[in-house]
């Protein structure tokens, strides 16, 4: 199937490895991603005041650009998803503001595009069973805790496609890839988000709660679908080693990195060097990382 793809700023810069892995994995399971032409920033936060529709101009412009390529717009950035999805819903439900917005951005957009998070698309349109049939190198014995953060879960009425209190879509994907998903109670807890800038110690404590809980449940790695969560969970661990004696760091994967690995793809451009906690030793220990030898044997 085809879907219009919005990379967003993060996946175009610091999350390039995430982006590469998403594109390659999608392609390998029969999902053709067509990049939104001439895209701009999604706006990065959904405005909570609705009388100032100017803040919706950026995401609305993305939706308009996406419309030229097809009806389904997907993105792998959870924040972009949250903003685009909610903007689209707002446009659909508020005709007056829609008209003003259209006048401003010189468009006639009525909310025709259907915004779907890529995980949602993989689950419902491609199907995890189908993905499982493409697996070349199952992630056997890899105990991975799936971490969803907030952006694809809340507010559930607007963006939700999974249980906001006990999401399972990422766990189900990991199981399809052959890994052992580890359930833990903080898979939907806030990671601290942008507090990492203003109050890093608060973020650190929040991340510690999440990681400690995942590890206590038996996880040796984290998989996430949110680039900001990945950054916080990964980076804060350096601090934790100084504060919590005996703390053992765990690698934090983008789910697409693990997907590409399991699908037997060329994973060299997946941004392994960008991790604060190097993920490769664990992969090597599980016979999932065999350096160049593995890459040469890749199917793509």
């Amino acid at each position: 199937m085809r879907a219009t793809y919005f990379p967003g700023c993060t996946l175009n810069t610091t999350g390039k490895g995430f982006d590469n892995a998403v594109r390659a994995s999608a392609s390998a399971v029969g999902l053709e991603l067509i990049e939104v032409p001439d895209w701009n920033c999604c706006g990065a936060t959904y405005p909570l005041i609705i009388d100032n529709i100017l803040e919706l101009a950026a995401p609305a412009h993305v939706l308009v650009a996406a419309q030229t390529q097809g009806r389904i717009l997907t993105t792998a950035c959870t924040t972009c998803y949250n903003v685009l999805k909610r903007t689209n819903e707002f446009i659909r439900k508020h005709p007056d503001e829609r008209d003003r917005l259209n006048t401003f951005i010189e468009a006639e957009y009525q909310g025709e595009v259907n915004v779907k998070d890529i995980l949602h698309l993989l689950r419902d349109d491609i199907g995890f069973e189908s993905i499982q049939s493409h697996v070349q190198k199952p992630l056997t014995d890899l105990k991975v805790a799936c971490y969803y953060g907030c952006m694809v879960l809340r507010p559930p009425a607007e963006v939700g496609y999974d249980d906001p209190d006990h999401p399972t879509s990422l766990d189900d994907l990991m199981a399809a890839l052959g890994a052992t998903p580890i359930d833990f109670p903080h898979k939907n807890e806030c990671c601290g988000a942008y507090l990492a800038v203003k109050a890093p110690d608060v973020t650190r404590d929040m991340v510690y709660t999440i990681l400690r809980s995942a590890q206590a449940a038996g996880a040796e790695a984290i998989a996430t679908n949110c680039p900001l969560c990945q950054f916080n969970l990964d980076k804060q661990q350096a601090e934790m080693r100084k504060i919590h004696a005996g703390y053992r760091p765990v690698p934090v994967f983008y789910f697409s990195q693990l997907m590409g690995l399991a699908l037997g793809l060329d994973v060299r451009e997946y941004g392994w060097d960008q991790h604060y906690i190097d993920a490769r030793p664990l992969l090597a220990a599980r016979n999932l990382w065999q350096g160049e030898a593995m890459v040469e044997g890749a199917t793509q």
Binding site: D163, P164, P185, A216
Partner: protein
């Protein structure tokens, strides 16, 4: 005197054999009129049957209720249809025709002497509706504390059940599921077990109807932030009643489901699904403040050095001697009250973590509890909607019966001859439900008194 000269039946149908329905039945039957009482369970008593003690007197619920259930069971003017559902109602005031379906018990109750041999010998222990599916740890079950006859694939609801005749739970019965066992048949001294029994249909003619259909609890599965029913030591308040009750799965010994250990720290969470217009029910469930104080007290009476903590939004103790009862829980039994609604409950090791805030001090609170008791919203009984369609009656936005006028005609419906009583119209405590039962009986009696019997002028 069952039929009036004007052709009106002076018999009365009561749907629901809880405390409100029983009260109405006894008042009407005691006045000399015939009552047809229908209940979906094998025994009458409703939710009160499950309770340990009652507030604000700490009376044993079963003890004060047993005279009612026994009277209902043996009253010459009360025709009981238990383990039955009303399937069809036609006609109008004075001449309702009612079709009642009796579910197969797979036991011939006419032959059964209630000796208890079948329930005692049944090898299948099952999670039991009546005990809120409390699956006690194995050591508790084999420790001999569970009352014989309950929580088996052939069961009666409790030792005090009226009628005390057993039914087979086909979903768990070895014979029905695996085609072997038939032990109950072997041990029954009167040959009452009948695996071929079919459902039975009954027709009744009545002149008036009282709907006393009661309530259920909002399911824990819908309270994702409190574990969504996945944490064994997070239980709902009715389950706690069963744990506290002498007729419950632990015979009233304080134990928790996961490992059968005595819980040293117990947290109660109020307003779970109540007063929550965004996600669940906007209304106050009214009885939780009182019963949680009662449960915390009873817990402290069983575990003297245990810690009882109640998280609340605010305490609603409007009722005679209710506020004094709350004060007693705080002062005499040292129940700790924290004003704040917890945000999250989850399992960590063998503890249940409760994340909340004390909104009086503004501080976050984390409690490592052994057992968490949720007070879920009271919701209308699941059959209410179907009955409403049958009768052409309205329910409100949340499924409760719509009173004809909530102020001046709270016991009447929009249909002549059809009345309401008990918690089917919204959350009520026992005294209120009993009052409504008597009130609805009074309404019906004032009709019946005007309808002439065959031997009257």
């Amino acid at each position: 005197m069952s039929s009036g000269e004007n052709g009106y039946s002076r018999r009365v149908l009561i749907v629901g054999g809880g405390i409100a329905g029983m009260q109405a039945a006894l008042d009407i039957a005691g006045s000399g009129y015939e009552v047809v009482l229908v209940d979906k369970l094998p025994s009458v008593g409703g939710h009160m049957h499950q309770l340990s003690e009652t507030f604000p007197t700490l009376d044993c619920a079963q003890c004060i209720m047993t005279p009612r259930t026994v009277d209902v069971g043996r009253h010459e003017n009360i025709k009981l249809h238990v383990y039955s559902e009303v399937e069809e109602i036609s006609g109008q005031m004075g001449n309702f025709r009612v079709r009642i379906r009796r579910k197969p018990a797979y036991v011939n109750w006419d032959a059964c002497t209630a000796c208890g041999a079948c329930t005692e010998k049944c090898p299948q222990l099952v999670p039991f509706d009546f005990d809120r599916h409390l699956e006690m740890a194995k050591e508790m079950r084999t420790g001999g504390v569970r009352h014989v006859g309950t929580g088996k694939a052939i069961y009666t609801l409790s030792p005090q059940a009226v009628p005390k005749k057993p039914v087979i739970d086909v979903d768990h019965c070895l014979w029905f599921q695996k085609g072997k066992c038939r032990l109950c048949e072997k041990v029954c001294p009167v040959g009452a077990i009948d695996y071929e029994q079919q459902e039975a249909w009954f027709e009744e003619e009545v002149g008036a109807i009282i709907l006393a259909t009661g309530f259920e609890l909002y399911p824990l599965e819908k309270l994702g932030e409190y574990g969504g029913g996945r944490v064994p030591d997070v239980i709902d308040a009715l389950a706690m009643e069963r744990l506290l009750s002498a007729s419950g799965p632990t015979a009233g010994v304080m134990r928790r489901p996961s490992d059968g250990k005595e819980p040293r720290e117990v947290v109660w969470i109020q307003c779970a699904g109540s007063r929550d217009p965004e996600l669940a029910m906007p209304y106050c469930s009214k009885v939780c403040c009182m019963y949680s104080a009662k449960q915390a007290m009873l817990y402290k009476h069983k575990v003297h050095d245990g810690q009882a903590i109640v998280f609340y939004i605010d305490i609603r103790s409007a009722g005679k001697r209710y506020e004094e009862f709350i004060q007693r829980a705080m002062e005499e039994d040292q129940v700790l009250y924290i004003r704040g609604k917890p945000s999250k409950v989850f399992r960590e090791g063998d503890k249940v973590m409760v994340w909340g805030a004390d909104t009086l001090t503004g501080q976050p609170v984390e409690v490592a509890a052994d057992l968490v008791v949720i007070s879920p919203a009271m919701i209308a009984s699941p059959g209410t909607q179907r009955l409403a369609e049958m009768l052409g009656l309205e329910v409100d936005a949340y499924g409760w019966w719509a009173e004809h006028e909530s102020n001046m005609a709270p016991l009447e419906t929009s249909r002549p001859g059809v009345f309401l009583a008990g918690a089917g119209t919204g959350p009520k405590d026992i005294p209120e439900a009993v009052s409504q039962g008597s009130g609805a009986a009074g309404k019906v009696l004032s009709l019946l008194a005007r309808w002439k019997g065959p031997d009257e002028d």
